[in-house]
Amino acid sequence: MNALLPIAALFPLALFVLSALWPAWRPRVARLLWLAPLPALAAALFAIGGALALPGPLALALDFPGAMLLGAAGLIWMAAGIATLAFWGEKLETLPYQSWWLLTMTGSLAVFMASNLVTFYLAFSLVSLAGYGLVTRDGSARALRAGRVYFTLAVIGEAFLLTAFVLLAVGTPSGSIAIPDVVAALAASPLRDAALLFLLLGFGTKMGLVPLHVWMPPSYTAAPFPAAAVLSGAAVKAGVIGLARFLPFGTALSGWGEALAIIGFFSAFFGVAIGLTQRNPKAVLAYSSISQMGVIAAVAGMSLAGGRAAAPSELAFYALHHVFAKGGLFLALAAIAMTGPRHLRPILWPAVVVALGIAGLPLTGGALAKLAVKDALGDGLAGLLGSLSAAATTMLMLHFIVRARATAASDTSAEAPFAIRAAWWGAAAAALLLPWLLFPSVAGNLRKAVEAKSLFALAWPMLLGGAAFMGWSRLRHRPELPPGDVLVLMRPATTRFYRLADRIAGMEAWITTWPVAGTLLLLLAIGFAGAMLAAR
């Protein structure tokens, strides 16, 4: 079954090559696009525990947390693939649409199977950089602007990650670059703190932790619905699997754990606060992602502080629900935008349930996700903050429903194509039901999910959040912020960079004049002679 791993990673890539080399195949590839994640689903089911070395520095392996996310990502890629055929129609038969879709998918799926540093970095870079093509798919000026921010943050995040990986490799005495080996050596490495810092910066950028979140709202707002669905559902999870794989949960690292938890909770509340000021439902969902990734970071931080070895599975489980919920809601937005009031109900009501599921609505898959990380947060301050973040998320999700409803088509009898509705319903069903299947292998007995104590723990934050939303929506003057909030503050930084570049270019022009270059040549000769003679 090991052979499934490379097939899962390379099948979308093979489709891309097919489409790139033989234009005649493009219509067929377009129709098969939704099947591209099929080998990944097979691998998630049948290849758990498999490992395989590929040529050169590449190697794949699949553990249980990876398999959960691989399966979930595969399914949301599939659902979005079904929707996208109806959404883009003939455009999907052209190479740009297919190539960006398939390349992003390749990276997005491979990252869950990468078992050494180089493979992980490759997959991570692929999903991040190819994602640019999805963000800018509609080619508008706004999309290109968002794409520039996306790309800049993506390469900065990769530079962080590369630094972290090199530090991990250097700190591993055996010289191995396998992820389990470098993580095992991390606790004793003299470079531990630097490595952890850059790991968190790298993955934090991908997950959109504040203040590295600035790319996420503009990108999701600019991206077409199916693209936003896979970016928010699947691609972002590259950061989550990174935290799950690379943080040394076996050993308690208290300082780092608490720091990550603080950043995570800050993002969780910050995302909600800014999300409430957004009018575009896509931006609301983006801020909800920032908030949810903050919760994941907080859980990871508390697990790290407590030396909780089960953390990878719990994080992956929480993220699995988010894959379907967030990816699904973007598909729901696509359906809502094409549907008039008459047919809206069967689309909107599942959206209400799934959206509130993110806040932990009892008996939904989201409730199970909250329960799975409950132990990691504990009963103290972190537990309370977790519940309050659920209350805040309730507010944000109610706001989302209101905003989403306002985007329904004006033609009363309009109805979205069946493929888009079906993709949404499929994702919604997965969000609500799949966690029930997996909960026993992650967090134990399902009875925990239905006992009164758990139901109460889930319900009171929601009631609180609901009440708060009532109060909020009565306010006359609610603030509105542009998507990307502090991005505005960064504009001076770009101008400063250009000014600096101008100055460097001016200096270069001066240096490359004859008299200056000639003088420099002589000075260098003298300088080197002096340096060596002085060292004697």
């Binding site: 250097v170 470079l191 240096i511 490359t512 270059a517 420099l520 060596m532 003679l533 004697r536």
Partner: protein, 504 residues
């Protein structure tokens, strides 16, 4: 010891052939009909490629350098040719790139009896063979004056390539290159004279045994280094490189950027690691690293600002040359048994290889773009992917290596050099490497994104381009990627035959 190091080894004849075959090829060019020039040159370069690969194989198999004593005389009386591990690798690289460039250039300088300029094919192919021979001599040479001759041959063969189209601008650029390279030569020659005066020999092997920390030696190395830096176009002495590329034909640019500047760089490596007494180079090595860092930043920033693809790629060369000079502080600062066993040594050589292949591919692609759409202004690249898919694929692969994304030679080089600097605690070099990577991502992005996007109005392809030429460029980019599959650890091959086995 001299005797042991200096006896003709089996296979030593390969070195003589590697130097002589291109010369025979040049002579043959004068004897054949104009329309056959191309084929004679290509055949010569094919033989040269075979010889260089055989040399590499011989060095690997015997785990020792190949040596040939010319006329059987031992230095300092006679001349020795000697190819160690790193020289064999660079020789093979040169053989491969020159051969592929020849395939790419086929037809470009083809004989046109009605054309106004009939010397062009002759000049191009002669100079290409001369550069090949000169580089082989630089890699195999042991005698500093012999190396000077090779270096001059290299410069004089490269200059006409810059001004092949004979326009005013290119002549000016060629003159700029020539004069500055000559200034470098003068400094180099001065150093040679100082060494000869002090030691009475110019053979590097002999010198490495008899020299101490004399002031004359240090002065000479300093002079020669400065001269060679000028020829390598290391910042801030890169004034000749961008203009030289602006008007040169794509094939010539590929050779110039990928190979010619590497010849003088190789000599700096030899001076600092084979001749300089251990322990004396620390400050100077950091100085070279600092210049390299300046090159990385300034070159990349300027590349970001260029409007024309060719100049962008040229400034990218300025930046990528900078990485090479980080070898000096990193390899001398390493705690490995010798600098040649360090991560930085292998990382630097990988950078040299990856850059050579990727950059040659990039320049060839730039030439193909020019032919396809009639200009190389980046803001006019929309829809290029549809017009010239293979060329855009070439630029993508080469760009990935320049940015340092895995798997590619550029990534492996970056990984090893980052490991070296962070492992040594010299994080400031790591900052430079990472900043350079970010800026490189920026300029590669600038080229590729418009090329991938769909045009507002479908553009027309001006000229059909031969598929073989597109594939030639692509093959070099693929090699740049494949280098990334070599092991990410120091290669024993690169330590074969180094003269000093302890850290300088």
């Amino acid at each position: 010891m001299t005797a042991a190091l200096m006896a003709t080894t089996p296979g030593g004849l390969l070195l003589v052939l590697a130097v002589v075959v291109p010369v025979i090829g040049i002579l043959a060019l004068w004897l054949v009909r104009a329309r056959d020039i191309e084929w004679v040159a290509i055949a010569t370069l094919a033989v040269n490629l075979f010889l260089s690969l055989a040399t590499l194989q011989a060095v690997r198999a015997s785990d020792a350098p190949l040596v040939y004593l010319v006329g059987g005389w031992l230095p300092p009386l006679g001349l020795a040719l000697r190819v160690d591990g790193i020289a064999a690798v660079l020789m093979a690289m040169t053989g491969a790139i020159v051969a592929v460039t020849a395939l790419y250039a086929r037809g470009q300088f083809g004989f046109d009896p009605q054309g106004p300029e009939r010397r062009r094919p002759m000049v191009f192919w002669t100079m290409l063979l001369a550069i090949t021979g000169a580089l082989n001599l630089i890699f195999a040479g042991e005698d500093l004056f012999n190396l000077y001759v090779a270096l001059e041959l290299l410069t004089f063969a490269a200059v006409p390539l810059v001004s092949l189209d004979g326009s005013r601008d290119t002549l000016e650029a060629a003159l700029r290159y020539l004069v500055f390279a000559l200034a470098g030569s003068v400094l180099y020659l001065l150093g040679v004279a100082v060494i000869y005066g002090a030691y009475g020999t110019l053979d590097l092997v002999v010198l490495s045994e008899i020299r101490g920390a004399e002031g004359a030696l240090l002065l000479a190395i300093a002079l020669m280094t400065a001269g060679l830096i000028a020829k390598t176009a290391l910042f801030p002495l890169h004034l000749w490189l961008p203009p030289a590329h602006a008007g040169a034909p794509a094939a010539a640019s590929a050779i110039l950027s990928a190979l010619v500047v590497k010849g003088s760089f190789f000599l700096i490596l030899r001076l600092w690691f084979d001749l300089l007494p251990p322990g004396l180079g620390t400050i100077g090595a950091n100085g070279l690293g600092l210049l390299g860092a300046g090159a990385v930043i300034v070159g990349s920033v300027l590349a970001l600002r260029q409007a024309r693809l060719k100049l962008l790629v040229a400034y990218s060369t300025v930046a990528q040359i900078g990485y090479l000079f980080l070898i000096f502080p990193l390899a001398t600062g390493s705690e490995a048994a010798s600098p040649f066993a360090s991560l930085a040594w292998t990382g630097g050589v990988l950078q040299l290889l990856a850059h050579a292949f990727a950059k040659a591919a990039m320049f060839m692609a730039a030439g193909l773009v020019y032919e396809a759409i009639g200009h190389d202004r980046i803001d006019g690249f929309r829809g290029l992917g549809r017009l010239a898919p293979i060329t855009v694929l070439t630029m993508t692969l080469a760009g990935l290596s320049l940015m340092g994304l895995p798997p590619s030679g550029g990534f492996s080089a970056k990984w090893l050099m980052l490991s070296a600097s962070l492992g040594e605690g010299a994080w400031w070099w790591a900052v430079v490497i990472l900043a350079g990577g970010l800026l490189a991502a920026g300029y590669v992005f600038r080229i590729l994104m418009p090329a991938f996007s769909t045009p507002d109005a479908p553009a027309e392809r001006l000229h059909p381009v031969a598929l073989t030429r597109e594939l030639a460029a692509l093959s070099l980019a693929v090699i740049a990627i494949l280098i990334g599959f070599l092991p990410l650890s120091p290669w024993p091959l690169l330590a074969i035959g180094r003269l000093i086995q302890v850290s300088p």
